[in-house]
């Protein structure tokens, strides 16, 4: 038996929102993956649009490199508005 490829499934729950990852499934091709995703992940009208992506096509950051990878942002507190003192009585800033 040949192993069917794995597909990652993304669902847009309603117009205006991005597609969000909901899980994965095995299917022989994209069309089947889409239909099966509908049956598995949107049986209760959880979505208005589905994307399926071959899992092998996803390049992910490595968990082992997490620290070095994301560290550069850690010491840049000035990217946040809370870093700045706003004088008394100033609104809408």
């Amino acid at each position: 038996m040949t192993v069917e490829p794995l597909w990652e499934v993304f669902v847009r729950s309603r117009r205006g929102l991005s597609h969000t990852h909901v899980g994965s499934l095995h299917a022989p091709d994209a069309t089947m993956a889409l239909r099966n995703a509908r049956d598995v992940y949107t049986r209760r009208q959880e979505g208005v649009s589905i994307w399926v992506v071959p899992a092998t096509d996803i390049t992910a950051s490595s968990p082992d490199e997490k620290d070095e990878f994301f560290d550069p942002a850690a010491d840049k507190v000035y990217r946040h508005p809370t870093f700045y003192d706003v004088p008394e009585g100033v609104d809408h800033l």
Partner: protein, 314 residues
């Protein structure tokens, strides 16, 4: 598409708009809607990246390491905003390279505010406070724009903008509580940036060409004059805290309406700058084109490296 299915698709487009829901990339949409969005999002994207120039001008001369790090972070954010927006435009079936080409050849515009020079360090404060402040007033309603990808990009952008405005205010606050020379520098920056900031909201409603249709399509939520008023109402009390004088003799607070009445900017100046006759139009465009051309070898090297890696893997 047949006539009948076209008509049905347009009905469902209108129903989505009427329900104040969002249009998404694969939906059918009228040609005019698509074109309007492409023009607006591209112009918005161009403004983000051209806007890096007047501020970038001061990175090497920021008065402290703290200010320098902040300014770099801000300019870096603006590049990111440009990217979000070009990506949103691409969901409408255009190519970023083509949009950049339109910018470089003057067939698409960017916000006129960036055609003014940054003469002193106080200008960096004034840009953050007034220009980013005005941009926020324009962008907050765009978070509810009828086109999903544009609205979502705006949510990200607005979240990032709030530090931009605060760091500008902080710069001016430091100057306006400093030496008489620093105070004068802060006042001079407000004097020069006030009127162009008011122009950022576009021509008055009576002579605004695209507004009505954009409102009907849910692309625009408030008129130019409404947004300008909102900006003035928010900003004038902030100027009071800074101890700076808004350069408008006609500025009066109306106790009854809770709004300021104010003098309109000279819109003939706006039209002149849009036409290309502002103080820095030529310089901004030339710098942008040069940056693009100077960066060609980087893009070529990256593509060559990727091709080589692929070859090795094969």
């Amino acid at each position: 598409m047949s006539h009948l299915s076209y008509a049905r698709a347009m009905d469902s487009f209108q129903a989505t708009i009427d329900a104040d829901s969002r249009i998404e990339p694969r939906d059918a949409m009228p040609d005019g809607y698509r074109k309007t969005l492409i023009r607006q999002i591209a112009q918005h994207a161009h403004s983000e990246i051209i806007g890096m120039q007047p501020e970038g001008n001061w990175i090497s001369r920021a008065p402290s390491l703290r200010r320098k790090a902040i300014l770099m972070a801000k300019v870096q954010d603006e590049a990111g905003h440009g990217l979000y927006l070009y990506a949103a435009a691409e969901t409408l079936g255009v190519d970023r390279a083509d949009l950049l080409d339109m910018l470089h050849t003057g067939r698409q515009k960017y916000s006129s505010i960036f055609n003014y020079p940054t003469l002193t360090w106080a200008d960096i404060g004034a840009i953050g406070w007034l220009v980013d402040g005005a941009a926020i007033v324009n962008q907050v309603p765009l978070c509810r724009c009828s086109y999903g990808p544009y609205a979502r990009a705006m949510v990200r952008v607005c979240k990032e903008e709030s530090f931009h405005q605060r760091q500008g205010f902080e710069i001016l606050h430091t100057l306006s509580t400093g030496t008489p020379g620093q105070q004068a520098m802060a006042q001079d920056a407000l004097d020069r940036w006030w009127w162009p900031s008011l122009m950022m909201f576009g021509p008055p409603d009576a002579s605004s060409t695209h507004s009505e249709q954009s409102m009907a399509w849910g692309i625009k939520r408030h008129s130019n004059d409404e947004l300008r008023q909102r900006f003035v109402d928010m900003t004038v009390p902030q100027a009071d805290v800074l101890g700076l004088r808004v350069p408008d003799d006609g500025l009066v607070y109306d106790e009854v309406t809770g709004h300021y009445s104010f003098t309109q900017p000279d819109f003939t100046e706006l039209y002149e700058v849009v036409k290309g006759n502002g103080p820095c139009n030529e310089k901004r465009l030339a710098t942008r084109v040069k940056a693009h051309e100077d960066g060609a070898w980087v893009r070529e090297a990256a593509a060559a490296y990727a091709a080589k890696q692929m070859e090795r893997a094969a």
